[in-house]
Amino acid sequence: MKIVLAAALVALGALPAIAADTKDMKIALSNNYAGNSWRQAMLKSWDTVTKQAVSDGVIAEAPAFTTSENQATEQAGQIQNMILQGYNAIVIDAASPTALNGAIRQACDAGIVVVTFDGIATEPCAYRIAVDFKKLGSMQIDFFKSRGLKGNLLEIRGLAGVFVDDEIHSGVESAVKADPDFKIVGSVHGNWTQTVAQKEVAGILPTLPDIVAVATQGGDGFGAAQAFKDAGRKEPVIFMGNRDDELAWWKQQKDANGYVTMSASIAPGSSAFAFWVAQKILAGDKVPQDMTLPITVVTQDNLEEQIKHTEKGSVTNVNYSRQDVSNILAEGQK
């Protein structure tokens, strides 16, 4: 009733659009894990954006909660607690795509808006902000193609058995299959970690012919570069993953010998994106149930600019504003 009334007032022009609707509402972040640089940056983005939103009077409160053991049952309990605490919307980075469905259903039944992002949930009543990981794989091959490269590729994969690794890999694989110019001659699991990638690549290099390019998943590019250098081999085009060490290396190579590559990953600011989506839904805006998070790309031209958005030991970030989110959603609907 209250929402309807508020919407009517907005329509009549009696209230300014954003500020009045949701200023008494509360949005909570339920996060399952905080143990890596991406998640830390994600929580920081949430903090920055929501603090500003609270002081602007857009929202009453937007605290973040992280479960201590990264377990689905624990996060389900956390969501149930949030229902009791009377939040109007819950934004979730889920520990499991399915195990939270029961708790999310309860939240929806209690009239709470549920937005899942990054780690999304399959429950139909929740909004999903997914990442197109397949595209993150295929765009690498497209980039190599646009550079006029031909020949052997090395693929560095992520953590075996994890959904994200499978998705990116299948993107790379299908793009290579469609293109007779490329052939994957080696594949290692770098676990998205510089040291692991370096060790694994160093191990497989002696068995490989000349490599023209390396497809990666982020966090592993700098390690791969080190391994090629140590083996005394020519540096191939290594696709980067927006990590601070990767960009720094790229910059150094670019200045030294005009090295050209590209870098892409998901900005940790996706939490801010999810926050604005939740806020827009509360404000009565129409938002699609399934959305796709934009991939943040660093190119030869904006490298210097993007390095400024990348903190030491972290990932290139974008703090989405409400307007950014509106623009991206409008573009997605075209």
Binding site: A34, S96, P97, A99, N101
Partner: protein, 312 residues
């Protein structure tokens, strides 16, 4: 009442007092929780933990420890969300096989005199492997009757309260009042004398592990009913939570000293402790520590009471 009896009563009542204090704290912090809806939300995830705790309690009663219960509960949830929905008879058969395997493991431990910790630790990887084979990526769907019955809203009190009451009563009747209970606790207290009295320790161990398997199966089904779909790592934390709940409920690792009512209360206490810490807005980094602190405080109190009883 003598002082000794007073201390003994206080010790027995400790799990109930702990739970009461925690509930009171939650109600003052979050008055909305003091309702049918609120209690249901707070305690619904305690239902599978209660069953897992009772499964662990059976094993602890005979001085063993089950490190595989968490992954077994996850496996049951995976069977439930795949086979039980698509081919109900095959699913039911798989669940029965799981219970039979549990009993067989009990027999193996008795027969070869193996340490239960090692066997069950190994077994936990077997369960996880089976679960991943069945359900490589999280998904599946719980049978409608299961998710429907876990959403039931009975009259007077929310579902978890009924579960707690019935489980406490049945557990108390079986463990503390029946002749099977006497043998069970006897096998934990002094296995040799039970064997000398003509009981087969092999049979006892098989029965105990089989019952633990049955309780673990019910736990997995309840959990699946709540989450509505499976995940191979759904319940991995239940292993440690169930052990902590048994101990919190007054049980000991040796001597066949277990208390079903206490164990049920312990399971509810541990579930609520996490909620309480969230309501208090305690930072996640401190939450595990704070939970541990609650556990240590209760156990220290119990040790004091039991020393007081012995001194009196």
């Amino acid at each position: 009442m003598s002082r000794q009896a007073l201390f003994a009563t206080a010790e027995r009542l400790l799990p109930a007092i702990t739970l009461g204090l925690l509930l009171a704290a939650i109600f003052t912090e979050q008055p909305r929780a003091m309702s049918y809806f609120g209690l249901n939300l707070l305690l619904s995830l305690a239902i599978p933990i209660m069953f897992a705790t009772l499964a662990q309690m059976m094993i602890i009663a005979i001085n063993d420890l089950d490190l595989s219960i968490g992954s077994y509960v996850s496996l049951v949830a995976c069977i439930g969300s795949t086979l039980l929905t698509s081919q109900p008879w095959l699913g039911a058969l798989a669940l029965v096989c799981g219970i039979a395997l549990y009993a067989a493991v009990g027999a193996l431990i008795e027969w070869r005199r193996l340490p239960s910790i090692v066997v069950t630790l190994g077994l936990s990887f077997v369960w996880l492997g089976l679960a991943v084979t069945l359900l490589p990526t999280p998904g599946g769907k719980a049978p409608a009757w299961l998710s429907g019955s876990m959403r039931a809203q009975p009259a007077f009190a929310p579902l978890p309260i009924y579960f707690a009451a019935v489980l406490s009563l049945v557990g108390w009747l079986v463990v503390s009042r029946s002749s099977f209970g006497v043998i069970l606790r006897g096998a934990g207290g002094n296995a040799r004398s039970v064997a000398r009295a003509g009981w087969s320790l092999l049979g006892i161990r098989m029965a105990v592990y089989g019952m633990a398997g049955l309780l673990g199966t019910i736990s997995g089904l309840c959990l699946l009913g709540l989450t509505t779909s499976g995940d191979a790592n759904l319940a991995s934390r239940y292993t440690l939570v169930s052990i902590a709940s048994v101990i919190l409920g007054g049980g000991s690792f040796i001597g066949g000293r277990v208390f079903p009512v206490g164990a049920v209360l312990g399971a509810m206490t541990l579930t609520l402790a996490a909620s309480f810490l969230t309501f208090m807005r305690i930072n996640a980094d401190w939450q595990i520590g704070a939970q541990g602190f609650i556990l240590v405080a209760v156990l220290a109190l119990r040790a004091m009471l039991s020393r007081g009883r012995e001194a009196a």
